[in-house]
């Protein structure tokens, strides 16, 4: 079990990462921009997808490009799978390619909203966890499903903040808080984050990490935005460790309420 209050490192399974920011590699304007953002972010864990080899892109070897960054672990996703069987197959192929035990289970059959299929996601996650994968399922912010996935042996759960690529932010914050309260595996917000302040808020509320892609990749300056997200995530974790003050229902004076210029209070 991860101790949420004393560990500075992100721990997933037996893996430890110094950064609580996980980056997606999609949507960048070019490979160099992606590599610059990854370096600037300080992340040690990035997502990739698998697709059919395309001879038109023969010079475009993502694996080789990512291999130029030391200390990077790959987390392949199962995007493109529309059911558990396809996701399990994608995971097996990805492990063969990456040598990484991490797999982001991502099954969203409807391209209109990309909401994850909870039943297929659960089934794929259960199978892959039993096979020794470090399973990171992308799910709706559902505390019951999250607990079931933990019981099935997942290494983490990754509830969405809002729809993939929407930039709508942490619209599911209250549900994510419920997941965190019940969870003894890392809770990682995946999808929908738009700005560093939202990433900071997610970590402050108890998420162990955030996974960000579009917000960095489509920024005018992805490298600078990656730096901003890295700072926000660190600030959020520091604030959580420092102990965030409780809310009060009324004003509490910060200056002494004693006499002022002869007036009694």
């Amino acid at each position: 079990m991860v101790n949420k209050y004393v560990m500075n490192e992100l721990q997933i399974g037996t893996y430890r990462f110094s950064s609580r920011l996980i980056l997606g590699t999609g949507k960048f304007g070019n490979v160099q921009s992606m590599l610059d953002a990854i370096r600037a972010s300080g992340t040690e864990l990035v997502t990739v997808a698998i697709r059919r080899f395309n001879r038109e892109q023969i010079e475009h070897d993502l694996f080789a490009a990512l291999s130029t960054i030391d200390g990077l672990t790959l987390m392949p996703n199962t995007s493109g799978a529309s059911n558990a069987r396809e996701a399990v197959r994608a995971a097996h192929i990805s492990r063969e390619l990456s040598g990484s035990p991490f797999i982001k289970v991502e099954i969203h059959p409807n391209p209109q909203h990309l909401m994850p299929d909870p039943i297929e996601t659960y089934e794929a996650s259960r199978i892959l966890a039993s096979e020794g994968f470090l399973v990171m399922p992308y799910i709706s912010a559902d505390p019951v499903l999250a607990k079931r996935l933990e019981d099935a042996g997942c290494a983490s759960v990754m509830p969405l903040g809002s729809a993939i690529g929407s930039g709508q932010g942490l619209t599911t914050a209250e549900m994510i808080k419920l997941i965190i309260r019940e969870s003894s595996i890392p809770v990682i917000v995946d999808a929908g984050l738009r700005s560093p302040s939202e990433a900071c808020a997610a970590i402050e509320m108890g998420c162990e990490a955030v996974l960000v892609n579009s917000a960095i990749a489509v920024a005018e300056n992805p490298e600078e935005m990656a730096t901003a997200f890295a700072g926000a995530v660190k600030a959020g974790y520091k604030a959580r460790k420092a102990g965030i003050m409780p809310r009060s229902g009324s004003a509490v004076a910060t200056s002494p309420l004693t006499s002022f210029l002869g007036k009694a209070t």
């Binding site: 997606g24 997502t47 990739v48 997808a49 698998i50 993502l62 197959r89």
Partner: protein, 67 residues
Amino acid sequence: MITITLNGEQHKIRDGSTVDDILDIIGAEKQRVAVVVNENIVYPEKHSSMVLQENDQVEVLAFVEGG
């Protein structure tokens, strides 16, 4: 010649062609790829010895950017 399906398209290849031969033909031999034949992963150590058969379904896959 035999006919195989490679990444969804039919191709005619020489009898006795191996997985390595196919990777060479499509230009994938220099890139890290995974090969799946009839839904079974073919590990790299078998690429030079596995001879493809008529109607084999071959998938050659690589990592691409994704979130």
